[in-house]
Amino acid sequence: MANRFITEAVDAWVADDVDFSEEMTEYRHNTMLKELFIAICVIAAFLVAGWTLTIGDYPIGFFHSYEVLWNHLTGSITDSTEDFIIWRVRTPRIFTGLLAGFGLAVCGAVMQSILKNPLADAYTTGVSSGASFGATLAIALGVSIAGAGGYALVANAFVFSLIPVLVIVTVAKMRGASPTTMIMAGIAVMYIFNATTTFIKLGVSDATLGALFDWSVGSLDNSSWRQVEIMAVFVVSGYIVIQLMGRKLNVLSTGDESARAMGVDSNTLRTICMLIVSLIAASIVSFTGLIGFVGLVCPHITRLVIGSDNRFLIPASAMFGAALLLGSDLVGRVIIAPEVIPVGVITSFIGGPMFLWLIIKQKREVWRRPS
């Protein structure tokens, strides 16, 4: 016979007449704080976008830039020169920056979650190295998988960036899709691609080497609406699918066996997510070149601020990434104007020290095992 203490505990568990409305209010409040973080990132991205619109040889003010944009969208263009500059030249760059930051951060957040590894992003899974190799083939040897002209490079980068993913998924299928196996396979492929890229570079002219360098540092200089359209298709549709799987990703965070017992097939989920985020990363890296640290740092900082509930972490990281990348591009364009520092250099300059600071200061170590 259980003692009174235990009987009461079970009474409390089976009771239907409970009132946890205060706790619900507190829960809603905590949820609202997470949504507030997302809102702040959206506003920051909006403000940075406005500021970026003003940057360039032709002077157009902050509010006036938005006015020109509004006029274009509503079909009441007043100044065709200003309209051309804002709509044709400056806006594509902004959308490329926003989409690239958004997408790379989604990739980082999802890869870190599914691979349970703080270093997982488009780089460590080999996606960027694959893209680099594809671009090198196009620039140095003129070899293209598909397309011609400017799109030969993009098509090459895209196709080759998918090879590491296929290797990861195949190895995972053969050996059982453990997160460690997947990231090790990614790193192995990264080394192979990097070595091959370096080998090709040994035999090219200085001019080609220069072109390769330009691509490898990552920049938003060659943005166009066509590029924005292609990126948007991959980034937006990929994000929507990932967002719909937010709760499943939370279940996955409890461990593969627990997840399976809750009705989530961890191997399948991990493979699907890997494919989706790799497509997102490939669509970005192919156009912009290698932009580091956004995918690594944004999810980290966001996780520390709002926690790791993927329903909120993914959109929050994404908006933070969009603001950070566009902000970095802005910094790169004003710091030693009229010279432009490629955005990839700025993100690494900002991201590197930020990451170090996080490692040193971070008390809430998510990757720690309990003592």
Partner: protein
């Protein structure tokens, strides 16, 4: 009405080529607190996994409520059987409340409702960790994490709750609390609590039914603690000399010396 809740019929299973469980057959007909005991490596955790559907049988059948486990969809199965592994492998910096709420996945809609919060707080209260609700999961000790995992198992409100060593990281007070809570819960609701334990005295004191496994992954027997926890069983299955005393109607094991047979050393 189902005639049996859990039924294993000549089950054989394992990992790859290696067979862990051999010819296991038993039936659980009534809800209650069931405890699997046996030495290391005899397949206690594998037994829990095979009933939960985490590993497939090589031969034989597992039936839940008279229906083969393979006939259930993953979602249906998740609503009937809850599973809490021995060691939490959670990987998050969510609050304890959010971590527990993940367990509502099989029942919850996209948004968390008042009903979800109610059941989550009831589970936290049941596990005496209500005060930790807003603390981050990654800041907890191993024992606290174990209680969070148990609370998450409870809020799934399954018919069968499978717990792999639910008291492994807990101090004596909490071992007794959790064991007696689960026993009382099983006796007052229609829940079947199926656990693995290394503590023979906890099994003797709280289990309604004890399943004893022995090398090499076979069933020694199933019965009440009084029937199963005997000097003969402990000597044969664990190879340990012991005395059995009576503790208010249940057997109490006082372990003595190892009966060191050479083959036992290499078996673990």
């Amino acid at each position: 009405m189902a005639t049996s809740i859990i039924e294993l019929d000549k089950v054989e299973c394992g990992y790859g080529e290696h067979t862990v469980l051999k010819d296991i057959s038993f039936t659980v007909d009534e809800p209650g607190y069931i405890c699997v005991i046996g030495p290391n490596g005899v397949g206690k955790s594998t037994l829990i996994r095979v009933i939960t559907g985490l590993i497939d049988v090589k031969s034989g059948t597992v039936r839940i409520n008279d229906k083969p486990l393979s006939d259930y969809s993953r979602k249906e199965q998740a609503r009937i059987i809850g599973y809490v592994p021995v060691m939490s492998s959670d990987f998050n910096i969510m609050s304890v409340l959010d971590t527990v709420l993940i367990g509502r996945y099989v029942r919850q809609k996209w948004r968390t409702t008042q009903a979800d919060i109610d059941v989550a707080y009831k589970a936290l209260r049941a596990m005496e960790i209500e005060g930790l609700a807003n603390k981050r999961f990654n800041e907890l000790s191993a024992g606290q994490r174990q209680k969070v995992s148990l609370a998450r198992g409870l809020i799934q409100e399954p018919q069968i709750l499978m717990l792999d060593e639910p008291t492994a990281n807990l101090d004596v007070r909490h071992q007794i609390y959790v064991s007696s809570f689960l026993k009382e819960l099983a006796s007052r609701t229609s829940m079947t609590v199926f656990t693995v334990s290394h503590d023979l005295n906890l099994a003797a004191k709280y289990a309604d039914t004890v399943v004893v496994m022995k090398k090499p992954g076979i069933l020694y027997g199933i019965g009440t603690p009084k029937e199963m926890i005997t000097k003969e069983m402990i000597e044969e299955v664990y190879e340990v000399d012991c005395d059995i005393t009576d503790d208010r109607g249940t057997p109490h094991v006082v372990l003595q010396e190892v009966l060191g047979r050479e083959e036992y050393r290499t078996a673990i």
